[in-house]
């Protein structure tokens, strides 16, 4: 720690501490993110990684740690790790090895976890995140490393049997995890959330993980402390690792809570990083607080050593090149494309890209087809995304093909259908899985020719002479009343055309 530390609890110091406003404290945050890699089989054996199967139905002598069983590394887990590393601008190790992390817990049958200690598969990298800072500049969060390891099993602390025993399910044991560790570069709770959102989006795009947080496929711990300026020096509070963060909201709220708690604690007792070791606290979603987790004093002594059951993995340049050549366009590139080439506002581009590659492709095809990216964005960003959200469908399940959608938008852009009728047509297309043509027919929408429009306007003027007078005497807004009446008389009449014709006929 570069910061010099003041260490005294005298009254004058305490008074000094009380004068520091919370906003002067800098929050220092680093994240450790565990991602379950999307493999069929486990990291070191052929057992299935499927979620939700009958307890202990997916285990074998390797993942339950029977004597003499030998682990063999899964090719796809290596590939997915390299793919992730490349997407996070990491240096990929040319040689990587396996280490045993020793600790005892009932859900760890071998008494150690196979992990990577000093030669992780991915070395330093970085991820740029968008923040709400006024400058609009992205923030670069450095990645320290990403290493492969096996997951542990699941303990079930059953209340029903009077806690006479805990139940253990080892199905998850040996599932491949990639642990991504950032440098402490994150400065706010919102930035932590932005980092996780972007990371999750990337992992989705590159097909590395479904990142389902409910199923524990993306798990996060946050290391948090404060740097507080006091009389020209920086004071660091003890580092706290917050565990058990299984939603983005939990990450954001726990960091906000923890920063406040540490600040108040320091004001009260002046304890700094020099006085106290790193502490582990758990986030409680019900109480919205972090609480101290009791640990054996030496549980951090994992006594890592190279696993003699496994041999090193050499990664060839050609393999890295091949994986690099297959990398898809990442979200940041696509957002830039939508802003620069399709003239979308950054926020609109972010919404489209956040929905995944399928929605981006749908947008690109429709925007190209109807030659109006703004209209395409309005309709996809609102109508399509709302439908997908409400029906919990993916774009692949959306009943309207991009061809049909393009045809509809062409009619709207040409003015053949106004916005309201266009949406009615779209709703019919979605509901009955029919084409725009069929929907228009079904809704009885007919094109209204010019002479019909003239007759319609003349009738309206005859029937509403007082409104006509209002308009003539300068109340232009009154024309809206006539347009409303026009719609009732003939729903097919385009309100834009009706308005133009009426104002010409009334005011000349």
């Amino acid at each position: 720690m570069e910061d010099s530390v003041l260490n005294s609890n005298s009254n004058s110091q305490s008074n000094n501490r009380q004068t520091v406003p919370f906003n002067d404290a800098k929050i220092i945050i680093g994240l450790e993110v565990h991602v379950q890699l999307d493999t069929d089989s486990k990291l070191f054996c052929g057992c299935s990684t499927r979620f939700g199967e009958a307890a202990n139905s997916q285990t074998c002598v390797v993942c339950t740690g029977m004597p003499g069983a030998l682990p063999v590394i899964n090719q796809r887990a290596l590939e997915l790790s390299i793919r992730t590393g490349l997407s996070l601008n990491c240096r990929i190790a040319r040689s990587t090895k396996w280490d045993r992390k020793n600790y005892f817990y009932p859900d760890l049958p071998k008494g150690y976890q196979i992990s990577q200690f000093d030669q992780p598969i991915c070395g330093p990298g970085h991820l740029d995140i968008q923040t709400t800072e006024a400058s609009g500049q992205p923030r670069r969060i450095r990645i320290e490393r990403a290493h492969l390891e096996e997951d542990a099993g699941k303990s079930i602390h059953d209340e029903s049997n009077d806690r006479q025993s805990s139940k253990i399910d080892l199905n998850r044991t040996g599932t491949p995890l990639l642990e991504i560790v950032t440098y402490p570069d994150i400065r706010t709770a919102a930035e932590a959330k932005a980092f996780l959102s972007e990371l999750k989006l990337i992992l989705n795009y590159i097909d590395v993980s479904d990142c389902n947080m409910q199923q524990g496929n993306l798990r996060c711990d946050a290391n948090v402390n404060l740097h507080i300026p006091l009389r020209g020096q920086q004071i660091a509070t003890p580092i706290v690792e917050i565990k058990n963060l299984n939603s983005f909201r939990a990450v954001e709220r726990s960091i906000t809570f923890e920063a406040q708690r540490q600040f108040e604690g320091w004001q009260e007792n002046g304890v700094t990083i020099a006085d106290a070791p790193k502490q582990t606290r758990g986030w409680n979603d019900h109480t919205q607080m972090t609480t101290l987790q009791r640990e054996k004093e030496d549980s951090a002594d994992y006594r890592y050593f190279p696993d003699p059951d496994l041999i090193a993995v050499k990664i060839e340049e050609t393999q890295i090149k091949q994986i690099r050549s297959q990398l898809v366009q990442l979200p940041a590139i696509l957002r830039e494309l939508l802003v620069k080439e399709y003239n979308l506002k950054p926020d609109d581009a972010a919404v489209i890209v956040s929905q995944g590659r399928g929605v981006v492709d749908y947008f690109l095809t429709v925007a190209d087809g109807c030659e109006n990216s703004r209209v395409a964005n309005n309709w996809i960003g609102q109508e399509v995304l709302r439908h997908l959200n409400e029906s919990n469908q993916t774009i692949q399940q959306y009943p309207v093909s991009h061809q049909q959608f393009t045809e509809l938008l062409k009619l709207v852009i040409a003015g053949t259908l106004d916005q309201t009728r266009g949406k009615e047509v779209l709703n019919a297309m979605v509901e009955h899985s029919i084409s725009s043509e069929e929907a228009i027919k079904q809704l009885g929408i007919k094109s209204v020719d010019n002479s019909e429009l003239v007759t319609l306007c003349e009738t309206l003027m005859d029937e509403n002479q007082n409104v006509v007078e209002q308009i003539r005497s300068g109340n232009e807004k009154a024309i809206g009343m006539l347009i409303g009446k026009a719609r009732k008389k003939n729903p097919n009449a385009n309100p834009g055309l009706v308005k133009a014709m009426l104002s010409k006929m009334i005011t000349g």
Binding site: C47, N56, T59, R163, S166, I168
Partner: protein, 102 residues
Amino acid sequence: MPDTPEQPIVNQVARLARIHLDEQQLKSSGEKLEQILGFVSQLEQIELPKDVIPFFGAIESVNAIRDDQLQTSVPREKILDNAPESDGEFYLVPPVFKPTDS
């Protein structure tokens, strides 16, 4: 390398390994550990050129890798046969959170 492993180290290793050693066992373990460390420390006498890269296993080959292929798991009743206690579905272990913890 200390000539004699400190007794506290033996204590700590035993605690980490969840092994209970009585005084006699602690003493003999200390002596055995001392012998092992003494034997291994002979390696320190070898003078190595600076550019020697450490290796981490007795086997020099690399890349024992398998394809991501499913294999049949061991039937549950068979694997649970190895457990000191089970309910036919789960392994049963002493409670992680003792009743007094709540």
